[in-house]
């Protein structure tokens, strides 16, 4: 189980009090972020949770320089985004972003070309490019020889999503931002993606993902930021955050299934310790049963 321990204390992404309004200066202006501050450290997995419209996507897009803060500052690897001498292209190469519904963002005709898009713009030579594409496709479990000449429109949604992820990984980012990566996946593909993300973290990639699937959060994340109406309302380790069940439910969120299960058992008089994942719940229940048997 990953945790935030063993992390060096130098934040690689720092967001300080950013505000963002869409369609600013028009009658349709909409405030998406209202003073968000957070920091991401090297090697951790951070979850950003919040209901629809809470500003998750907008926040992620600030963290790789797609959107520029209207107020406040974003620092990425010690460089301030929006500064004259900060190369946004470099920022976006280091911090890869997989947008919402990534399957719709595959724009080239052939799988191989789509994965190669980023590194080719980065100026790799042909053999290097080929190796890079092969590597990136293997990372997401797509066979290079079998898939590189497939037409992208003929792929299934799940396959296209993998292609999109490979396209971002091919840039060899140090940080990976994912916007609702598991939404709409079937259970098998869902599990597999979670394993891939854990593997990527093991390779030293820092991961930030936005979601409203609390079980994913329990399984992956070390730390959590809870966003509500464009502001961070709760943050901390997942244990610290999931204690606030009532608060989370009030803003349209939830706690992991295992936490609800142990809560329910406790109200029926079972003495249990906290659990966030099914494995932990199993452990806790077994312990409680064991204690009851020996008592």
């Amino acid at each position: 189980m990953p945790s935030s321990s063993g992390v060096t204390s130098m934040p690689i992404i720092e967001v300080r009090g950013i505000h963002h309004t869409y369609m600013a200066g028009t009658p349709l202006a909409q405030e998406a972020l209202r003073g968000v501050t957070l920091s991401i450290e090297r090697g951790e997995i951070v979850a950003i949770i919040g209901s629809t419209g809470s500003g998750k996507s907008t926040l992620l897009q600030h963290m790789n320089g797609l959107l520029l803060a209207q107020r406040g500052e974003v620092w990425i690897f010690g460089q301030r985004v929006g500064d004259r001498n900060t190369d946004l292209r470099e920022v976006r190469q280091r911090v890869g972003l997989v947008l919402q519904r990534p399957e719709d963002q595959v724009f080239e005709q052939y799988v191989g070309d789509d994965v190669a898009y980023g590194p080719r713009l980065g100026g790799l030579s042909r053999p290097e490019l080929r190796e890079r594409v092969r590597w990136a496709m293997e990372q997401v479990g797509l066979d290079f020889e079998a898939y590189r000449d497939r037409l992208t429109p003929s792929l299934s949604g799940g396959e296209r999503r993998r292609v999109a992820l490979a396209g971002v990984l091919a840039m060899q980012p140090l940080v990976l931002l994912l916007d609702e990566p598991t939404a709409g996946l079937d259970p098998a593909a869902h599990l597999e993606l979670l394993h891939r993300l854990l593997e990527l973290r093991a390779q030293g990639i820092t991961i930030v993902f936005a979601t409203h699937d609390m079980d994913d959060v329990a399984r992956l994340a070390g730390r959590i930021y809870v966003l509500h109406e464009g502001q961070v309302v709760l943050s901390g380790s997942k244990r610290e955050v999931f204690v606030h069940r009532a608060e989370l439910e009030r803003i349209g969120l939830d706690v992991p299934f295992a936490a609800r299960l142990t809560d329910a058992l406790r109200t029926r008089g079972m003495q249990l310790c906290d659990a966030l994942t099914l494995d932990e719940a199993e452990q806790a229940i077994l312990e409680a049963l064991h204690e009851r048997a020996t008592a």
């Binding site: 369609m23 897009q61 292209r89 976006r92 890869g96 972003l97 947008l99 898009y117 980065g122 971002v168």
Partner: protein, 286 residues
């Protein structure tokens, strides 16, 4: 601020909820007024008449309580195109014989008449853009559909597809902001992977070139969207206009008729200036 907010500059086709006199006008009256004014504006050669019409449209924008800065956004987006059209007009339809020569260089001659023509062209487009935007700002899609359908209903007897036509118009209007959003998503996806988006503005040509790789995927998504829409309509047993009743019932009041008649009269005056140009009398007065 952000290069990705394409929608911010697409103001035509956007409806802004409101309760002004202009908003409450019957959509049929607005459609008649719009068509009449646009016809008048493209026929008149008179700068004075165009200025007066521009003033009228601006007054209506103010009455509709639309912020001017927002209304002008569409004009700003079209500005390079306007200048280009004016320039082409000046060079390809020269009016050197009108007025004194202002500027001569190599084989290019610009006389007062040419300059006037350029200004008239720009003014014409200004009224067109502002008029169309005002119409879309103040008329919801539902009302546009019903308005078009009602106006063409008399023609239905001779087999004119009034209902289908209004549907086509509405879908086209609805797709404009959708396409802008789609373009935004694609641009973001490409920028995340190293494309040169969102890094300063650059000149119009490099900006235009950056849009090229968006076009093909944009068409693909538009077609896919259209297919989904057709399927959704079939799933709800859409069969066209026959025997359908409507939630919105249009009822014209005297003021709607007055508005339509007034705009028809104004358009008549505009068309009349093609024969009797008031600019000449105004010039002789000065």
């Amino acid at each position: 601020m952000s290069e990705f907010e394409f929608l911010r500059n697409v103001t035509i086709g956007q409806y802004l909820e409101g309760d002004s006199v202009v908003h409450r006008l019957d959509p049929r009256a607005k459609l008649i007024a719009l068509t009449a004014l646009l016809t008048g504006v493209v026929t008149t050669p008179s700068l004075a008449a165009l200025s007066a019409t521009l003033g009228l449209v601006c007054a209506l924008v103010w009455r509709a309580r639309i912020p001017f800065r927002y209304a002008l956004r569409g004009v700003r987006a079209a500005a390079p195109f306007l200048l280009f059209v004016a320039l082409v007009r000046m060079l390809t339809m020269p009016q050197h014989d009108v007025g004194p020569v202002l500027w001569r260089w190599w084989r290019v001659t610009i006389a007062l008449g040419d300059l006037r023509m350029a200004i008239v062209t720009i003014a014409r487009f200004l009224v067109l853009i502002l008029g169309l935007s005002l119409f879309s700002f103040t008329t919801s899609t539902t009302h546009v559909t019903h308005g078009i359908e009602h106006l063409f209903r008399p023609l239905q007897r001779v087999g004119f597809p009034a209902h289908e036509l209004s549907l086509v118009a509405v879908i086209a209007l609805r797709f404009v902001p959708l396409l802008a959003l789609e373009a935004e998503r694609l641009a973001k996806a490409q920028a995340s992977r190293g494309a040169d988006f969102g890094r300063g503005s650059g000149n119009p040509f490099t900006r235009a070139r950056r849009m090229l790789p968006l076009l093909v995927p944009l068409f693909v998504t538009a077609l896919r969207r259209a297919e989904t829409l057709a399927m959704a309509m079939e799933a709800r047993c859409y069969t066209g206009g026959q025997g359908r009743t409507h939630l919105v019932q249009l009822r014209a009041r005297p003021r709607d008729a007055a508005a339509a008649l007034l705009s028809l009269a104004w358009a008549g005056l505009l068309v009349g200036t093609a024969w009797v140009n008031p600019d000449r009398y105004l010039a002789s007065l000065l």
